[in-house]
Symmetry: C3
Subunit: 100 residues, 3 copies
């Protein structure tokens, strides 16, 4: 089995902008994505009492590191001021991506 | 883009105790969490025939390493004797957490 | 808390073969799995216009590295020619697996 290191970029945001997020992913050169329904809470600012519940979508993209950076930068720049969004990434060993 | 290493703690357990799990996460200092519906099977003990199906919740917390340890220790101590629960963690590069 | 390094193998494929995937996981020696509903798109081949939408299942298995390899090899050999499937893995610190 051939293995190769790739980035797994995870984006968790408001469900209403799912199509915009996946549009960015496609436009910036990734070969696919996986979405899941999610919900959660987060503290706005520093006041511990201010938790807010959200209907979220969790989108995963497996791609090379420069593509992950481009997608993350674009999303941070264009959506993070107006929408709840968390982005994180880590390295995975990709075993097979064909036919997705 | 500023990147910082954080822990991603994943807790998979019975859906009925979701509120207790997320209550612990909030109480012990995390700034947010993401939940997803999940299902699965697991072998109880060593007898291979004993698989049991569960309605589960999969909760993710991105936080610093000491907070992840505190949450994991509390959950193991207080819930693992009575509920099915798996916990694992790994390091992620956090890109953006604001407004969650 | 005792920690041990394990592999987290993630398999994303067509929902219709979920039972076959989880059957392989059980047969090849894993102690459990977690499934989630997912959807996504992927480019078939090199033509950027050919995106196809899928109803998927995302299956996670935490196990030792040789077991993860065996499961991945079996699935690639037997399913990847006929079904959309992506497989990737990374190392996690397992905190607790009991009673799943």
């Amino acid at each position: 089995m051939k293995l190769a290191a790739r980035k797994l970029l995870t984006i968790i945001s408001e469900a209403q902008i799912e199509n915009e997020i996946t549009g960015v992913i496609k436009k910036l050169g990734a070969h696919g994505f996986t979405s899941m329904e999610a919900w959660g809470e987060g503290a706005r600012g520093r006041r511990s009492g201010e938790w807010e519940e959200n209907r979220n979508v969790r989108v995963e993209v497996v791609c090379d590191s420069p593509t992950a950076d481009k997608i993350a930068e674009y999303l941070v720049k264009n959506y993070c001021d107006n929408y709840a969004m968390i982005l994180y990434s880590h390295t995975v060993e990709i075993i097979r991506t064909a036919k997705f």
